[in-house]
């Protein structure tokens, strides 16, 4: 059980519920990717990544614990970058005008999530050092 010192500092909780809603959306996307038939194999794997990572991150945000995002964001970030590549690959032949913005936007989204992961790791290190 984490103590209060390990929670996200008060200055970093702005937009907590918005972020939790975003992670909930990622979780729902993962469930859809898993349940809907006809998706290729790597889309289904990406769905599991979104489900597990999104659920961890959402629970972490709702409960105010840094550990949720710390554990969940690697899965979500890598799933976003993989999704960018898959979208680019699948859209290039049919709609080239949408392929480039898609890969750019989704890869940027994945990069932002992985950057957030690095920030959360720093928050966790600081919380542990304060606890010592």
């Amino acid at each position: 059980m984490l103590n209060r010192r390990d929670r996200v500092p008060p200055g970093q909780t702005t937009g907590r519920w918005l972020r939790a809603a975003g992670y909930l959306g990622i979780t729902i996307a993962g469930i859809a990717l898993i349940l809907v038939d006809g998706f290729p194999f790597w889309y289904t794997i990406m769905g599991y990544w979104c489900l597990v990572g999104g659920a961890f991150s959402c629970l972490g945000k709702v409960t105010g614990r840094w550990a949720g995002e710390f554990i969940g964001l690697p899965l979500v970030g890598s799933a976003m970058i993989a999704f960018a590549l898959m979208t680019y690959r699948d859209a290039w032949d049919a709609e080239q005008w949408i392929a480039v913005p898609s890969i750019a936007l989704l890869a940027a989204y994945g990069s932002i999530l992985l950057g957030r992961w690095a920030d959360v790791a720093a928050i966790g290190r600081a919380a542990r050092e304060r606890g010592r």
Partner: protein
């Protein structure tokens, strides 16, 4: 290297990082101040229980020693004038020693 080759690598790296973060988090929690404090309290309680048990055992031993000493003191007081050894009474060897000469068994 095409996108088809990169996609498994990206997802695999994410999975490995996920497992790594879980291990790191578990290790951090095991080394956390709260965990160490709980373990220290648990050790102190265990040591206290063991000390209580040792003290009770010492008390029992002490009571036993007192009982035995008191019994042999009574025996010494009863037979200090005449001794019966193997059914034969040993002849009286003189007047009983004065009370002040009596040495309590150590």
């Amino acid at each position: 290297m095409s996108a088809n080759d990169v996609i498994p690598l990206v997802l695999g790296a994410g999975g490995v990082a996920f497992l790594g973060t879980i291990l790191q988090f578990v290790q951090a929690m095991r080394n956390s101040a709260e965990t160490r404090e709980t373990k220290a309290i648990s050790n102190l309680e265990k040591w206290r229980d063991e000390a209580d048990e040792r003290a009770l055992r010492c008390l029992d031993d002490l009571n036993y020693e007192r009982t035995v000493s008191s019994y042999w003191q009574r025996v010494a007081g009863t037979y200090q004038h005449s001794l019966v050894v193997g059914g034969l009474e040993v002849p009286d060897c003189g007047p009983p020693p004065a009370e002040r000469d009596y040495q309590r068994p150590s």
